[in-house]
Symmetry: C2
Subunit: 333 residues, 2 copies
Amino acid sequence: MKKLINDPHNVVIESVRGFALAHAEHVTVQEDPMFVARAQEKESGKVALVSGGGSGHEPLHAGFVGHGMLDAAVPGAVFTSPTPDPILAATQAVDRGAGVLHIVKNYTGDVLNFETAAELAEAEDIKVASVVVNDDVAVEDSLYTAGRRGVAGTMLVEKIAGAAAERGDDLEGVTAVAQRVIDNVRSMGVALTACTVPHAGKPSFDLDDDEVEIGIGIHGEPGRHRIPMATADEITDQLLDPVVKDLSLAGGEKVIVLVNGMGGTPLSELYIMYARVAKRLGELNVEVAGSLVGSYITSLEMQGASVTLLKADDEMIELFEAPVNTVAYRKGM
Amino acid sequence: MKKLINDPHNVVIESVRGFALAHAEHVTVQEDPMFVARAQEKESGKVALVSGGGSGHEPLHAGFVGHGMLDAAVPGAVFTSPTPDPILAATQAVDRGAGVLHIVKNYTGDVLNFETAAELAEAEDIKVASVVVNDDVAVEDSLYTAGRRGVAGTMLVEKIAGAAAERGDDLEGVTAVAQRVIDNVRSMGVALTACTVPHAGKPSFDLDDDEVEIGIGIHGEPGRHRIPMATADEITDQLLDPVVKDLSLAGGEKVIVLVNGMGGTPLSELYIMYARVAKRLGELNVEVAGSLVGSYITSLEMQGASVTLLKADDEMIELFEAPVNTVAYRKGM
């Protein structure tokens, strides 16, 4: 295992400290229990958004803390849910009296621990609502998950619900927008290589030199099947087709596209995939109303990528376009 | 070789087309000869900045085309300088009558081809100035280079000179600012793995499972020496010490820090390195006036990182903080 780390057991805390030092104008970090919050003063009245989950997917979630997206992010150990304690602490810290929305990726540990934290917060008279993101069309049920997994679509939920909170929607309204995004966002991914969890010290699965895994999870959970290495266009089609089918996309509809790298994939390859996605959507007469290409939700150093489509109405598009000012995603401010 | 590509010989054109499709609000692409320019209308009066070089270092340079940085970027084949033709075409396209600054990384092919393009442009009465970035302290002379190589410091040259052009400095003034950055920026990198040029089909060098190369070039050119795999802190020190020494950094001085990933390195590892850089600079009583952490100047899928310091005066810091709106780097707008 070759990694730029010191102690495999201190990867998260050392990395979060570096993040806080590099971005003091954006974020503040509390260490025990650990969460990342906005550096700015709390304004009263706004609904607060909290997300979190196992580390190893950076910049998700801490990179999305800031105006227009999250109020706090709670990083767990690598690929391991945070416990209820830091989720509760983050929820208490960012509540402005208007309530807190928990945005949870659908993994059993995350769902349980966010539920417990929500109950504890409600016992202290903090209003908490929760949504569970389950955008991965690859498989039903999986390692760590009942139902579908939550993957890159989470970023779009955070962006659009964050914009709704920023414009002053109440907790019920922000929750409804978040749920509408979840109901209309679908993803599927591919792995070219495995990744190595630092404290495990060896790759989490094996892939032959000439095969890729279609439908991979962001923790290396098994996908649909393995195929021999193919062209970018063929692989992109294998990710895009199930997404298009699951959304029942029809001509004249609008989508927001996210082509996401898994951590070890060059940007140039993501753009080759994006060109294929754009061409295919054009053939379907589906309009691209917004696009993101980059490594936003990663799996450590895994080489691979995912394709996410959000079937978007005009309000979602307007919220997607709204200003955002976070470490990993900035626009319009 | 596992890559998300179609034809190894069409990687650049397909990727640039995807880039143009994804970011039509930011950039426009001309294909033959190929360059990437700002999508916005040309305003008169401003000095224009053109950079370019071999592809494979994305988001450099095309990702930095936009308000506050470049006016055009000229991508060559992977790790191969663009010819004079597209450099000339880009120069002609972006000149607003105030002249054009060429920002060139110090590789023999780039220097020659930009020189030729500058001569051709001057024959058409376009004023052209050139600066050559040579920030890599690892080695004197190298594969493809006489003198020091130009690496991640190029991004800071583009940012700061771009801001000077945006505020209305004339060609002489913008060139002087760019040169002052070059005179005060130093970098050094490390490779944990090699990278594979698509049309070569095999890794450009070999590294054992338990060794890293200190002082690597961004095309995999040999560095200073190989060492057994060490901790992030030890490796960071081996990159930082020569940079600090070469800049003769003293207490009370200010720096802008860039911890840059080579393409395949998780963001979390870059932040661990940043924490070490910040700690060491604190011990030296050197003030960090700005910081960037991310994969901005890459070497395809190489795992590794570099540390760049710019010894910055107040004007450079002000220009570094100025608004910028490009695909890969946005701030304040």
